[in-house]
């Protein structure tokens, strides 16, 4: 017994020593770069635009992954524990996976309330904010508004400004650099916006159906009309009765386009399309949804190219 006690005490001492050693180990001195982690690739792309080579940016979720359902893998803790800044989409998009990561990472700088935690939704125009009672009978609704707000170039510009402000706050020495980067980004975005708007102008008012309600900001900016969803309610898989209703709606409204996010199954959309003579378009809600889409500009280039071709094909 005594032997066991000694053994256990020794183990405790070893554990304590390892913990103290680990805690006191010097963190490798990084260059001056700010270490930014973002919840999604879109926030990473915008941070990279304004942070330039003064930041290293990593996103947790991949662009082709459903951002509502990301596994809170321990490997993400390795990213978060050394982060100077965490940029999140907010509006409860990440509520199912990000809070435990923040709690467990042991990084005081990025805790909710700390200077290194940035909720980008505060800078963006948020649509579909519920005004009445919200219950789960409505599906997996977001009580604070639709969180898919980055798909509007105006919001992209606003978020970039907010991020530039935060980067300047955290690294005051490079504030002028971040502002320069921001101005450059805004200029390029203004030019690109003109091009995108010209490309989409012939299709203003066209009716579309989306799988999930992740398209309102894009639709509003480019004057498209979303008339229905493949999901009967947000987060609820398609049901036969709803699918029949949707087919009827599309026929009545002469709607031919079904937009589907890359992480949803195509079986129901294909069935709807074959019954309505429509076309399924797998659009990208996020940067990185396809290999060639590596920044915020390419995201709109890709989607607008897909949409204009689909509209032409279904004239």
């Amino acid at each position: 017994m005594k032997k066991m006690c000694r053994c256990s005490r020794f183990l405790l001492v070893v554990v304590a020593a390892v913990l103290v050693w680990a805690g006191l180990s010097p963190v490798p001195a990084e260059a001056k770069k700010l270490n930014v982690v973002t919840s999604t690739t879109d926030m990473a792309a915008l941070t990279q635009e304004v942070g330039g080579d003064k930041v290293t940016v990593e996103a947790i979720a991949k662009g082709y992954q459903d951002p509502h359902f990301v596994e809170a893998k321990p490997s993400f803790l390795l990213k978060l524990r050394n982060a100077d800044l965490l940029v999140v989409v907010g509006l409860q998009l990440e509520i199912g996976w990000l809070p435990p990561l923040i709690n467990q990472c042991g990084n005081a700088r990025i805790q909710v309330g700390a200077p290194g935690y940035l909720d980008a939704s505060q800078f963006a125009e948020i649509l579909e904010k519920p005004t009445g009672e919200v219950t789960r009978a409505m599906g997996d609704v977001h009580p604070l508004g639709n969180p898919h707000y980055w798909l509007d170039p105006d919001n992209g510009r606003r978020i970039a400004r907010g991020i530039a402000e935060k980067l300047s706050e955290l690294d005051a020495g490079d504030a002028s650099y971040f502002q320069q980067q921001l101005q450059d980004f805004e200029k390029r975005l203004a030019t690109a916006e003109q091009k995108w708007e010209a490309e989409m102008k012939p299709y203003q008012g066209r009716k579309v159906v989306t799988y999930h309600n992740s398209f309102p900001n894009f639709a509003r900016h480019f004057h498209l009309n979303v008339i229905g969803y493949v999901e009967p309610r947000p987060g609820i898989p398609p049901t036969p009765s709803h699918t029949i209703e949707l087919i009827g709606l599309m026929k009545r409204e002469n709607c031919k386009i079904i937009l589907v996010e890359p992480y949803f199954d195509l079986k129901t959309p294909n069935s709807v399309a074959s019954n309505t003579g429509g076309k399924v378009v797998v659009y990208l809600p996020s940067v990185g949804g396809e290999k060639q889409v590596t920044n915020y500009f390419q995201l709109f280039d890709y989607d607008i190219d897909l949409l204009t071709k689909a509209f032409q094909a279904t004239q």
Binding site: A22, S75, Q104, N107, Q122
Partner: protein
Amino acid sequence: MKNLIVGAAVLVLFAGQLAAQQSNNQAQADSTDTAALQQKIRDLEDRLIALEGQVRMLKSAQAPSAPAPGAEASAETPAQAPAPAPTPVTSVTSAGGQLPVYGGASAAAKALNPDISVIGDFIGAAGGNPSLPLATLQPFPSLQMHESEVGLQAIIDPYARGDFFISFGEEGVNLEEGFITFTALPGNFVAKVGKMRSAFGKVNTLHNHVLPWIDRPLVTTNLVGDEDGIDDAGVSVEHILPAPKGLFLDLTGQVFRGDSGDVFRASKRSDVSTVDHLRAYKDITESTNLDIGFSYARGHSADKVGSLIPLSSDFITNLYGVDATLRWKPLRRSIYHSFVARSEFIWSQRQQFPSEQRAFGFYTSAEYQLGRRWFLGGRYDRSDRAQFANLTDEGGSVLLTYWPSEFSQIRGQYRFTKYAENIDAHELLMQVIFSLGAHGAHPF
């Protein structure tokens, strides 16, 4: 005359050109004015949106009373953004710790309340399973509101958060967990103080509603205190250890009072129990990962159900565990297909009268997600009994789970148990789990 005509023509042309130029200039000026006005409208729109954002953040912020470390300094940094700047609210409130509030207009009034959730766990059972005097596995009644778990969770202040899980059974109330987590400690340490499920293995850390089965494996029942497991008041310190790139190494050390159901018992203050857990995790590919853990627990032996001889308080129980979990979830179709295989091996070394008992047990299980709502699983169990290590129980289960939505699930389990007494039990278990309110996500 000819010269006069030419001169007049030149004059007219010049005048025309001048008028055209003036008109162009006017048009250009108008166009510049319009662009400026448009820009002004955009700027005003941006300012309005920024103000809306501030109001939203203030409404949903947790409003911590003390500023976060370094907040003052960062708030003083001059804003250098060209107008219109997004003007975020100051550091402390800009964090936007958004509570999942419901009810629209009354949201602000609820903003300071903790997240409140209730999870109901209803179990039905059919088939035969005798209640054997020396067995630790207690059969479920025919119909039972097994547990109603109330969760209260909130950020306490910029340095900590609090979590309470109160479990209402049909016959009583139990504080399953209630602890404060210090999230802003120096040196990347995370500490918890309160009553908590210990970090021994995998199953012991899980609440009933996140188990992939209706029951707990035989090895948990026989060696680690069944449903309550090692769940005690104490202190926990966790730290991510330095490791080669891509490898996650995490060490947890815990000290508890020493009272954990029928595993440990403290008869005096010095009878504390300890639990240590080393976790190694690696992403093999983007879709596949491996999670391995080593656990050790030590405490003073508790009386077991059916024990006739009181234990001496000097008797010690040591538990050793190894757990392994392999997960596969293709990211592009993560909501439709996944696979999890897990196994846990536990050794118990229990001092008791008249002789020390060395017991061993394990389970191995697998679960495959057939579609968005359907999961199919199986489990094999084998375990000695802690107090009678020569008695070994064995069993197996097949499970089918249906998720109508993220917030409810219906599960069926066929369970076969072969008791050491040479008695077989065939049971059909049914479970309905339903969740109300905002229940915080559990760690991976």
